[in-house]
Amino acid sequence: MRQPADKRDRGFLAFLALFAGLYVALILGMLVADATYTTPRDLLNALESEEIRYAAKLSLTSSTITALLSVWFAVPIGYLLSRTEFTGKSFVDGVLDIPIVLPPMVIGLSLLILFQSPLGEAIESQVPVTYRVPSVILAQFAVSCAFAVRTMRVTFDQLPVRPEQVALTLGASRAQAFWRVTLPQAGGGALSAGLLAWARALGEFGPILVFSGATRMKTEVLPSTVWLELSTGNLEAAVAVSLLMVLAAITVLVTARALGVRRGW
């Protein structure tokens, strides 16, 4: 006997919900495990530590700069890839995916080697980068920007081209049509790209460890703190810092999404 359609739908929805539920349970399970492992005292201790406060400040500042830089680069690159055809586009498209697929350590190693080349040395002679704060931002940017570019590419792909063409018919140049018509419509995508880049930058560890080191009060970011605390067997502090990162990430993501919703993105 055939089941009524709604019953079959319920079965299908339950199938979907099973996988969603399992994954959500895994994420919540990890957070709950962290939260129950640590105590408010551990969290306070972490916040009172000058080194951890420095790492938190550097993490938040560098991630924000990285997110802004990533969006700055991702908007023109995404638009170029979405709206134009040019020789070598497939190659450029592939190259832009490399930071996503490469192991993070390799990105850090490649940056380190690049900055030991004549070009890198020339840059270093003007602006010291390696093992300093700029290297933290560059290491985060090298990875995060690729995610922002993908997001902006999809955003522009989904925006209809007609409003842009209408702007051209009204006498706008292509650049004016981009600035006045397309870019304002891409606000939501830019916000998502920025958030993704920010979250990715906040959690970046491998490239920073190799390219910047994990020197306390100098190039230590929160993921480095977790690693340093773990290395010395201070599990409570490592978990407390992890929770701080979770709280910071949730606060920023929720706030930014709320702002986006208010603006209709």
């Binding site: 055809e85 063409q165 051209l168 018919t169 006498g171 706008a172 140049s173 004016q176």
Partner: protein, 219 residues
């Protein structure tokens, strides 16, 4: 008035290459009302975009009056487009948050603000929409929106109107009104090239061209 020579265009992406215009020639004179027909995907819109200076063709030249559109700088081409070419689209594409009058005032123009406002009011009155001047597109019917769109296309008194299925979304009565406006425009010396799937506009047309296999045919 408009001369297109050896127009070619190929759309390319990573997976496909479509050569939709293949060495096409076209001349339109003042006062002509020309219908452009062809199956979907035959390249009608591509041709209109190329003729209007919005899509640089892969090959060939487009001359409006004495100006070769694609030898102009981007800024000069934008100016020429605004002054000499009007566009009408099937889906109207009015700016949703601007009133009917402000949609007309959004057109780039060398006129003073007062002259532009007077021109907008004159056009809206000519299509019987003066009482709707302050209404946004959402408050207008499809036929009214298209009349506003035609007014916008006529704002700078262009020498050519390119219309892409302008009656495709309209009821027969509204379509007749739009066709009347375009016919009046050609009677005043303008030229119209209208891409259409409908046979109705052909009664107004001085000729009909078919776009097939990337070239134009008279039947």
């Amino acid at each position: 008035m408009i001369r297109a020579r050896s127009i070619e265009h190929t759309w390319r992406d990573a997976s496909a290459e479509v050569r939709c215009l293949r060495g096409l020639d076209l001349e339109l004179e003042a006062g002509e009302f020309c219908c452009l027909r062809g199956v979907s995907g035959s390249g009608k819109t591509t041709l209109l975009l190329a003729l209007g200076g919005m899509l640089r063709p892969s090959g060939g030249t487009v001359q409006i009056g004495s100006e070769d559109l694609y030898s102009l700088s981007s800024g000069a081409r934008a100016r020429a487009r605004a002054q000499q070419v009007g566009f009408v689209f099937q889906m109207f594409h009015l700016v949703p948050y601007l009133s009917a009058r402000d949609n007309l005032l959004a057109v780039r123009s060398d006129l003073s603000r007062q002259e532009r406002e007077a021109r907008a009011d004159e056009l809206l009155e000519s299509v019987g929409l003066q009482h709707r001047a302050d209404h946004r597109p959402a408050a207008l019917s499809a036929g009214e929106r298209q009349r506003v769109a035609v007014c916008r296309a006529l704002f700078n008194k262009p020498t050519l109107i390119l219309a892409d299925e302008p009656t495709g979304n309209l009821d027969p009565d509204s379509a007749e009104v739009v066709l009347d406006l375009l016919t009046q425009y050609t009677a005043g010396g303008g030229a119209v090239l209208m891409a259409t799937h409908s046979q109705t506009p052909e009664s107004r047309a001085s000729r009909t061209l078919w776009l097939r296999d990337g070239t134009l045919h008279t039947s």
